[in-house]
């Protein structure tokens, strides 16, 4: 009896929370759109600052063209590829730094030097080395996502509970076994939170680099629309970037929550 009650209460509460959350979310979006509509009406510059309705109409025109979907696909592809490679490198380098004092001493100054330089700053050398195209953008996305993952992985490796390390030592584990079976799994929550920040860096860098390099993609669509006085396309694309960023972050934070639950 008592158990059934507890389960039904526990089941009802999160659903109520979700409904309330969605309600507040919808309210916040509505408020933003209203603010946008009011400011657009007061500025009266439909070509450079269109309101929500004009943007929606203009975007519907874009979203039926294959070109627009190609631009979205290219941007997403560059972000995902760069992010995956950057995260993988970040985890590997982070683990090496976190498990070896020698590697740490050798690499750490460079990590802090390079991570303070915004990825976009490397656009000219990247374009010279990799050409004016996707590889340059992907390189910058790798750069942008890698460092946050490194720093967080190192942090995670350094915060492993001492008792866990001792437990493994008492069981006769070698240094390598301790790293593989204790330190790395213990660092998963940190690694995932580093990847969340890395992902948002990857987004900004990809869009910015596309603008500057000038190749087909959401960033360049925004940039080009400005010169063509296609306010609706410019604003609409910004909204698309925002929605994509929101979705990617949502997936990663869900992953991070699972990681925290399982690996804490």
């Amino acid at each position: 009896m008592a158990v059934t009650t507890a389960v039904s209460v526990a089941g009802a509460s999160p659903r109520g929370d979700l409904r309330r959350k969605l309600g507040y979310g919808a309210l916040a979006v509505a408020a933003l759109i209203a603010l946008w509509a009011v400011t657009a009406a007061s500025m009266n510059q439909p070509l450079l600052y269109p309101g929500p309705w004009e943007t929606l109409v203009g975007m519907l025109g874009q979203l039926v063209t294959a070109d627009y979907w190609v631009a979205i696909g290219l941007s997403v592809g560059r972000i995902v590829l760069g992010f995956v490679v950057g995260s993988a490198l970040g985890v590997i380098i982070g683990i090496l730094i976190g498990s070896s004092r020698l590697v740490r001493t050798a690499l750490e100054p460079y990590i802090h030097f390079f991570r303070s330089i915004i990825a976009i700053a490397w656009i000219a050398p990247a374009a010279i080395r990799f050409g004016v195209g996707s590889p340059s953008v992907i390189f910058l996305v790798i750069y942008a996502s890698m460092f946050m993952v490194i720093v967080n992985t190192v942090q995670g490796m350094s915060e492993v509970e001492e008792q866990r390390i001792r437990m493994a030592q008492a069981a006769g584990a070698s240094k390598l076994q301790t790293v593989l079976k204790i330190s790395i799994p213990s660092s998963v929550p940190h690694i995932l939170s580093g990847m969340r920040v890395g992902m948002s860096n990857a987004f900004g860098t990809a869009i910015g680099a596309e603008m500057l390099v000038g190749i087909v993609g959401l960033g360049y669509t925004v940039y080009e629309a400005r010169f063509l006085f296609e306010g609706a396309v410019m604003f609409g694309s910004i909204v698309v970037v925002g929605i994509l960023g929101f979705l990617f972050n949502y997936v990663l934070s869900a992953l991070a929550a699972v990681g925290l639950r399982r690996f804490a």
Binding site: E161, Q163, R164, R166, M167, A168, Q169, A170, A171, G172, A173, Q177, K181, I182, P185, V188, R261, R262, F263, A264
Partner: protein, 262 residues
């Protein structure tokens, strides 16, 4: 299984401390008989966990040596199972059985064999039904049972327990004391058990060592033999008498004149 002989412990004139500070333990000698149940009781900060860490090999003495089974130890090893205070040594991504089997996995024991042995160890601590659960699904008492099973599984002849029941409620604590006592009677491993609970010390130990800091920072150390038959009851008159003696000896004012004061 009969009494094991190769599992005595000797702390031989051990000094331990950190550079630039007074040593925590200075020229300290203690012999633990093979197959005995030794309890070290003392207040927080008296150095009892330091002693256990030295025996476990987690820390090394500045001077003197720690001899286990006739050999000077150089670090931790699978001959000494450790049960830690609290639950942070349990691995949250492993099931109960995989936590228990961790040491066997390190030894290279095959999967079927190590699960069989893990299940046997879990049976010993009455946790058979929960072998597929994760640590986060267990109560505090159950988590300590997992730790005990993990220490038992590899047949380590020595069991080191650092306030293993310190965070548990009184009822759970009583149950686990009864079980550790029963397990010890079954196979007579050498146990060194740290606690700050006098009743726990009298319930478990054949030898109860009282440890505390003298006002001049030297260590007061006194041993009591406990020959009460098991299981022991707090209502027993002799239990009460030993309890009182230990309590009195833990009290700085009562004993600072005698004891080991320099």
């Amino acid at each position: 299984m009969g009494q094991r002989t190769e599992n005595g412990i000797l702390l031989d004139k051990v000094t331990f401390g950190y550079p630039g500070a007074k040593p925590i333990i200075d020229n300290f000698t203690l012999e633990v008989q093979p197959g005995s149940f030794t309890v070290i009781v003392g207040a927080s900060g008296c150095g009892k966990t330091t002693l256990l860490n030295l025996i476990a090999g987690f820390t090394s003495p500045v001077a003197g040596s720690v001899i286990v089974g006739g050999k000077t130890i150089t670090g931790p090893g699978p001959d000494r199972g450790v049960v830690f205070q609290g639950d942070s040594s349990l691995l949250g991504w492993r099931t109960v059985e995989d936590n228990v089997a961790f040491g066997l996995e390190i030894e290279g024991v095959g999967k079927a064999e190590r699960l069989k042995r893990a299940h046997r160890a879990l049976e010993t601590v009455n946790l058979s039904a929960d072998h597929k659960k994760y640590p986060r699904e267990l109560s505090g008492g159950m988590k300590q049972r997992v730790q005990i099973a993990r220490a038992l599984v590899s047949d380590a002849p020595i069991l080191l327990m650092d306030e293993p029941f310190g965070a548990l409620d009184a009822i759970t604590r009583g149950n686990l004391q009864a079980e550790i006592s029963r397990i010890w009677e079954q196979d007579r491993r050498t146990v060194v058990f740290i606690t700050h609970d006098i009743a726990e010390a009298v319930t478990l130990g054949d030898r109860v060592c009282v440890m505390r800091k003298n006002p001049d920072n030297t260590i007061y150390f006194r041993q009591f033999e406990n020959e009460l038959p098991r299981p022991r009851h707090k209502t027993d008159e002799k239990f009460g008498r030993l309890y009182d003696q230990i309590e009195e000896s833990l009290n700085v004012d009562a004993t600072s004149g005698s004891g080991a004061a320099a």
